[in-house]
Amino acid sequence: MEQILANGLYLGAQYALIALGLTLIFSLMNVLNFAHGQMYVFSGFVCYTVVVQLGLPFIVGLVVAAVVLAVMGGLIEKFLFRPVIRRSKRDESTMLLAAGIAFFLDALILLLFGEKQRGIPKVVNGVFNWDFRLIMPYDRILICVLAIAIIVSFILFMQYSKAGRAMRALAQDRMAAQLMGVDVDRYSMIGFAMGAMLAGLVGALLVSITGVNLGMGGPTSIKAFLMIMIGGAGVISGAIIGGFILGMMESVGLSVLSSYGDVTYLLIFASLMIFLAIRPQGLMGKPWG
């Protein structure tokens, strides 16, 4: 049981980090970022290149991946999403753009990094073993701790910094924020860059454990959608709770129902649909956000 809970916590921490970036972008721009999973894979490959091919330490790879993704996110917002949002009649048109970017990133990854599964060597060796009741490699614990640290610092940033306050105001009411003198364009761009950066951090963290490959992007996006649906779209606490809930459900389901194969996911999806029919805005969300 301890093992299952620990696995759930470990999965939940990384899921929450992915969902945070997605929900940040959604709350600021009302954009469903279909390319989120691809951003995550891209950053994994960036980290791999820095660590394995250039031979630099893991922490450099982490920082480089985060910076590359942040810049990419900022540019995507400024040159792609902003003009399209300004000119399109319906908000949903951005979905086509996001899907186009997802395909584009897939193509870019294929051309730049190839289609092979890539991973980097373990950051720390050894396995934590508590009386054979709980077995966890040290690198997983490290990644889990790092992920939680990033989540905490993100919350603190959103809560107390000027930029964080501006972004929260923007998420609540774009027009009112603008009237109060918030530079809407600037903070939209920063927000998008931060969302992409979170995807970048998580990609770089996970490349050290599970590795990355080209096909991971789409399924990751779908899982991230699930998490923000559980917690409520566009709410930071919702994304974190959703991430941990999905992580726990997967961990428990896969160990209890392991003999039935994919039934776990079927159950998760089906219960999610029932849950959403009863509570459409998720656990923490605002109705019709």
Binding site: S88, M95, I101, A107, G218, G261, F269, L276
Partner: protein
């Protein structure tokens, strides 16, 4: 005088419409087969058949857009329709032509059951639930015994003869020299039928009511429109189209697997609608043709195929964010 010119204009537009329709029919039923016969690219038949069938599915998605909902779950109904048709043919020995409407009706009934709770959702919430629905459909197909799991159902016989009162309307496909061409003809005929129905829906009272839903649901409910019934109806029609498209696909590929229609396909249906333009009935058809056929043509670029495809998709979005047919808006001075 004024009314006279108006009726004249209406008559003119009716003639123009009939001419346009005739031109379109001539193009798809005569010009395309002649072109393919002349160039010898019979693989285009398969591509264009797929375009026609995907356009049918996209028509359904477009109808849900018309009531203001983003439907990323059409793949689920296509898969469902495909399985219904495949199971009926292989296990009950029903004629394919009968399974085609049955698959549609099955999907419509299921969609009413699913739609009752989820159609209360709006915006991204509805979009994401339908996205999950596609995944549910795939996993259900994997888990159920009747669908034969991951192995799928294979070697489904070609469509048989369709005859009414002893007169053969459609000959047995296995006796045909060129079943590809026959499939093309059937698929295009089906597509024309679906778009006629769609066009008819949009231009009746039902269509006006749907538009009122798209603009403001509370307002239209407050003046006495039965919004729940309308939403369910539109969603059921949409799913009917999805099921028919799926069933037809199965008869062409003669096989179906749980992965025949995945989330990517559901998303693609939505993209076809966006690209063509949400304001026009024929938008999804154009969008499907451009995206699917364009992808096929770009295969000459080999590894750069996806790069060019997605690059041009992004560029198109930047130039025409409201879809290709929004070009027509400007001529008429906006909507």
């Amino acid at each position: 005088m004024n009314t006279n010119t108006e009726t004249m204009a209406a008559k003119g537009s009716v003639t123009a419409r009939i001419l346009g329709m005739a031109a379109f029919l001539a193009l798809v039923f005569v010009a395309v087969p002649m072109f393919i016969a002349a160039t010898g690219r019979s693989d285009f038949y398969y591509t264009l058949t797929s375009v026609a069938l995907l356009a049918i599915g996209a028509a359904g998605v477009w109808l849900t857009f018309y009531i203001g909902r983003i439907n990323i779950g059409q793949g689920a109904y296509a898969l469902m329709g495909g399985y219904v048709s495949a199971i009926l043919i292989t296990q009950a020995g029903v004629s394919f032509w009968l399974t085609l409407p049955l698959a549609g009706i099955f999907c419509a009934v299921i969609s009413v059951l699913i739609g009752l709770p989820i159609l209360r959702l709006r915006g991204v919430y509805f979009a994401m639930v339908t996205l999950v629905l596609t995944e549910v459909a795939r996993l259900t197909a994997l888990a159920l015994p009747i669908t034969n799991g991951a192995k799928g159902i294979t070697s489904i016989p070609l469509p048989g003869e369709l005859s009414v009162l002893g007169i053969t309307l459609i000959p047995d496909f296995s006796t045909l020299q060129n079943p590809r061409q026959a499939f093309y003809m059937v698929a295009v005929a089906l597509m024309v039928l679906v778009y006629l129905v769609l066009w008819r829906i949009v231009n009746t009272r039902l269509g006006h009511l749907c538009r009122s839903l798209q603009q403001n649901e509370e307002l239209s409910a407050s003046i006495g429109v039965n919004t729940t019934w309308l939403r369910i109806l539109a969603y059921a029609i949409s799913s009917f189209f999805g099921g028919v498209a799926g069933a037809m696909f199965v008869s062409i590929s003669q096989s179906i697997y749980p992965s025949s229609f995945v989330v990517q396909d559901s998303v693609n249906f939505v993209l076809y609608c966006f690209l063509g333009g949400l304001g026009y009935v024929f938008g999804p058809m154009l969008g499907t043709l451009l995206l699917y056929f364009g992808w096929d043509l770009l295969s000459v670029f080999k590894q750069y195929q996806l790069l060019i495809y997605s690059g041009s998709m992004i560029a198109l979005m930047l130039i025409l964010p409201n879809g290709i047919l929004s070009l027509l808006d400007k001529k008429e001075g906006g909507k």
